[in-house]
Amino acid sequence: MDKPTTLTKEATAELRHYYYQMLLMRRFEERTHEMYVKAKIGGYCHLNLGEEATIVGLMAALKPEDYIFTNYREHGYILARGVAPGPLMAELFGRETGVSGGRGGSMHLFDVAKGFMGGYAIVGGQIPLAVGAAYALRYQGKPGVVVAQMGDASTNIGAFYESLNLAKLWRCPVIFFIANNGYGMGSTIEDSSSEPDLWKKGASFRVHGEQVDGTDVLAVRDAVRRLRERAETEGEPVILDVVSFRFRGHSVIDADRYRDADEVRKGRETQDPLRHYSAWLQAHELADEAWLKAMVEQVEQEMQAAVDFANAGPHPKIEDIYTYMYASPVPNIPAPETARRLLD
């Protein structure tokens, strides 16, 4: 991270805001973990701990007209995109007030108003969707780019490669954003990719790729800005390999036994995006201990408010189980036997 020269008030506020967002994410995920242990949350639940700079950097560079498709490890993405923690936590609690009406849960968050087009839980499945969305933007003559976020281990599935080809052939403005946390469950990158330099995986498709330090929020932001611009103006898809360190197990129920405890401790220490960035802010006199402390308090309050909001939300009603089933109504749905079940 380069030293900022004289900064406007807005620029300072923005730089501080990144820290706030990263802290919000950190605490959100920690609270999520707590809530899972308390059985407020069920299903599979994957945290973004360690990926805060990756995500905040990305979102800082995107514009409102952009769209984002992610995998199932997406709490932080929707949060950094500007969705309030309350409806997000409510979704994890399975409430009607959640971002997906309680239907989706942790792996299936959505906010159409923010262009956040969903978390998807079939590895690689979201990637072709993003290409199609980008095709639609071009078709409609609209500005914007589409982010296809995925994990490192997901770059081994066919859908990724088919998508690279389509995006390049059709000149779709897609950023293939690899949230590279070094692991796919218990597998390292070398275990699963014959080309472990993931940014080179566009080579078979004439798709340009770059790598960036995913623990450095400004580096991520700047890389995305540059590549976003090119994608938008030239219809050039691109791969961005954003490297960070996964702080915990694959999901909250993973005890992370296959990783060396020392390695994990070291990783958390040396690759903590918040620690880096708070040091940087302080070094450049953009923040001081007091401000950092105030942030902690503010975020703490927001978190409590989010949990309260989630707790207060109503559970979806049983009789609403068929709501959202079809967008265009048709006769003979549901089958009579299954309709009867609800009355049993």
Binding site: G132, Y139, M325, N332
Partner: protein, 323 residues
């Protein structure tokens, strides 16, 4: 009204819908320059250009997924899968995404997508090119599945499918493409989810769809000469299944034969027979008879292929068994 082929019905409907709504676009392999493997899209690239008639690489999972993503942003893609056999490489996108996106995300976006594909087996196309998987899609909540038997229904259902805001699997049949029927000029639709009694009768109900409806009508005509009165219910939609129409017919005739060219066990006819016994149990004078494909990977050899698929004769035999 003039008789046109099932192929012409599809082709003209695609053209009309492309002209009507600029959000409609076609995607698929060989649909443009090649004019379509079965010429369903003939002439459309010339008329509408490559932005709206998109030739894709052989990457079904990729382009079906892309079509879903495009639909989420408001386009109305009509995808051709060359034959249903190739849909297996894209089925994850259809079942795990297209069918779920509206519901799973709390109704925030719609997926107005049509996937057209011919199903079934004719002409010795052998094991990997003669299959029927419409039962798989009919099983999936969130999808709609239609399978017209006539040019009239092909046109009306394709219009309905393209104008519908949900993903619709549109099942065609190679054997029907050259069949003819009357099609009016005006802009009608055939509603999704509604079966049709294509021929009234009093002795037995035959429930069928797509190519088997054509065979059932043939058989009904033949048996009429022997004084056997067959009612033919053409499902037209497999999901939703129009149970009331089926049941009303069986309550009248008290006998039912259900026919489909897919494999026997766990196929479409299983649901039909189960439904009928469930809702018309007290009206049935005989067990519902199922006529379906033999349970083998379809052999190439002509005689084996012929016997493996249900025929008019096998339908007649089943009808006779319960009369």
């Amino acid at each position: 009204m003039k008789p046109i082929t099932y192929r012409q019905a599809l082709n003209s409907t695609l053209g009309e819908e492309l002209a009507r709504d600029s959000n409609v676009l076609l995607m698929g392999e060989e649909i443009g320059v090649f004019q379509g493997s079965y010429r369903i899209t003939e002439g459309l690239l010339d008329r509408f250009g490559p932005k709206r008639v998109v030739d894709t690489p052989i990457a079904e999972e990729g382009f079906v997924g892309a079509a879903i993503g495009a639909a989420m942003l408001g386009l109305r893609p009509v995808v051709e899968i060359m034959t249903i056999n190739f849909i297996l490489v894209a089925i994850d996108q259809i079942v795990n995404h297209a069918s779920k996106i509206h519901y799973m995300f709390g109704g925030q976006v719609r997926v107005p997508l049509v996937i057209r594909t011919p199903s079934g087996g004719t002409g010795q196309l052998a094991a990997t090119h003669s299959q029927s998987f419409e039962n798989w899609f009919a099983y999936c909540p969130g999808l709609k599945v239609v399978a017209p038997a006539t040019p009239y229904d092909a046109k009306g259902l394709l219009r309905a499918a393209i104008r519908d805001d949900d993903p619709v699997i549109f099942i065609e049949s190679l054997a029907l493409y050259d069949t003819k029927g009357e099609v009016p000029d005006e802009d009608y639709v055939v509603p999704i989810g509604v079966a049709e009694v294509k021929r009234e009768g009093s002795d037995v109900t035959v429930v069928a769809y797509s190519r088997m409806t054509a065979i059932a009508l043939q058989v009904a005509q033949q048996l009429a000469q022997e004084g056997i009165s067959v009612e033919v219910v053409d499902l037209r939609s497999l999901r939703p299944l129009d149970r009331p129409t089926i049941i009303a017919s069986v309550k009248k005739t008290n006998r039912a034969v259900v026919v489909a060219e897919d494999w026997y066990s766990y196929g479409i006819t299983a649901e039909l027979a189960a439904t009928i016994q469930e809702e018309a149990f007290d009206y049935l004078d005989a067990p519902v008879q199922r006529v379906a494909g033999l349970e083998v990977p379809l052999p190439y050899a002509k005689d084996l292929a012929a016997v493996a698929k249900p025929s008019a004769q096998s339908l007649i035999n089943a009808i006779r068994r319960i009369l």
